[in-house]
Symmetry: C2
Subunit: 326 residues, 2 copies
């Protein structure tokens, strides 16, 4: 018994030492010294050293990051959907018809499986009902209140605590090296702007997302902007490239995502010299989630194949390369 | 004769002294010391002094500027139209049908009046024909070549030389005081991005404009973005507010324009404390152009009425407040 305890103590010390060696407390402390960290450090060094051919002028240091599954978790379903579901419940009293009307009845019955079975059409109906018909300020006040109180069911943490510590370090590292970091996400732009600027240190104007149409209303001298129930843009797949072109007007040199929804953006970004793509690969069933080719949320298949073939595309192995997840 | 010459010499000296007194060579040198310059200096002082209630945090120092008629001239017609007309001529050989087809035949016949008589529909047809069906890079290369060579017919200057010196000083002054300066113009965003970053020191990602739809094309591994012949957004009137909400996600504290197309943007911006609106009033027929209520291009009527009633809206009297125009 005494020997065993001793062995355990030694093991524990060894493990601690290994951790200390693997993870440099001074530089990207949540990243193990592995191929992804090396790729990131090399990329930043090469693109910021004026003496090198690989130098990227500051004005062109545009780095785009997907959000769901790249900067925070996205399981068991997108957190914005959790918001929408909670809002359906909050609004149910004013909508007695929802008790019998799909997909709302499924939400009220906590039958998430049936909601999701309704596909995009059902989700769009829910999002429209809960995200429109109010001013942007009213909507964002509701999101702010919700995100301060809501807990994720598995980890029992606030959703903003389910943002990835290594990715926040990566953002800060890039920012310190004069990269302009953008979020380019399928999530709603007004939803993200309610909390992401503080959590990621990315200002509202560097957040691109899906959006409903806006309508300016003079409102007798109290001008306001209303969120309409029609889609303005879906920021996914080719839509990400088109929105970056429209809004930023520059081809990013660094694109980071986690799914085939980010594939076009990564292909476009890396169709130029001195560029890089990184993919957060969800390999850690214990500390986070494990999924890729077979998952519908965060489906990662073709982009992973391409990553395996291209020298400047890097898969981030969450389980083996991250000392800390959250 | 001698006396006359002497009087002239004295007059010339006096005039020079008056200029030197009116225009401070060290601070906004092209602005006479007048009400607009005072308003600008006061606004910046009040919004950047942390000890004052009027302080505006850096993240909220968003200043939006119209372009046509606000940062550069817009007469006898928008310069982007001059580009479109020149392109119609350049493309005419591939379009023999244009010889008999309105509005193209009018362009080929240099009958600008008839072109403009066709209204928005005619202009849209011309813009679509000359601004779509190519990649963004191809389009911008054409714009860059054109703007380097084309001359305005009245002043015989390059169009980029018809940008207003006082407004460029104002942009620089705001930038030096940590304002993020944006262009929000009815002009095409890709057109402006080809030259405005250099001319105004405003990066591509801070230029908002009208846009045609974009289409991402994987193109066998040589990804590109094509400009389609459909409108994505018209950045005018309420559309300016809606695009600022969508793209910046913040209500600007300072809005500057010259026409009723900027009215909504100015009303929205000044619907909050510590905000200001400024209007470039075209009062100088000699050095530039003189127009307001009766002009179709740069129509300024309702916004001028509102400026006359509101303490934090300022009309910039070009003739009497600017030492230099270009």
């Amino acid at each position: 018994m005494k020997t065993n305890l001793c062995a355990l103590a030694i093991l524990s010390t060894l493990s601690f030492s290994a951790m200390a060696v693997d993870c440099d407390p001074n530089l990207l402390p949540s990243w193990k010294d592995g191929s992804s960290k090396t790729a990131l450090l090399n990329y930043v060094e090469n693109s910021t050293d004026e003496r090198k051919d690989s130098f990227v002028p500051v004005a062109e240091r545009i780095a785009v990051f997907d959000n769901d599954g790249t900067l925070w978790s996205e399981k068991p379903y997108y957190f914005q959907l959790a918001y929408a579901f909670d809002q359906v419940k909050n609004m149910a009293e004013q909508h007695p018809e929802w008790k019998t009307q799909e997909p709302f009845k499924f939400v009220l019955e906590d039958d998430v499986k049936s909601v999701l079975a309704g596909g995009e059409e059902a989700l769009l109906e829910i999002v429209t009902a809960t995200h429109s018909g109010m001013t942007v300020e009213e909507y964002q006040a509701t999101v702010t209140n919700w995100i301060a109180a809501a807990k994720d069911p598995r980890f029992e943490k606030a959703y903003t605590e389910l943002t990835y510590q290594p990715m926040k370090e990566m953002l800060a590292y890039l920012q310190a090296n004069d990269f302009k970091t953008y979020i380019v996400s399928g999530g709603g732009v007004d939803f993200m702007r309610a909390w992401a600027p503080e959590v990621y240190n990315i200002p509202a104007e560097q957040i691109i997302g899906s959006a409903l149409k806006y309508q300016y209303d003079y409102n007798d001298g109290q001008p306001q902007v209303i969120k309409l129930g029609e889609i303005l843009t879906i920021d996914d797949k080719a839509g990400k490239v088109e929105n970056i072109q429209h809004i930023i007007g520059k081809k990013p040199v660094l694109a980071v995502g986690n799914s085939d929804g980010d594939h076009a953006m990564m292909q476009w970004a890396t169709s130029q010299p001195n560029s890089m793509a990184m993919i957060v690969h969800h390999t850690d069933a214990e500390r986070e989630w494990q999924y890729d080719r077979k998952s519908s949320v965060g489906h990662l298949d073709k982009a992973m194949d391409e990553a395996n073939q291209r020298y400047n595309w890097h898969l981030i192995d969450m389980k083996n390369e991250w000392c800390t997840i959250y």
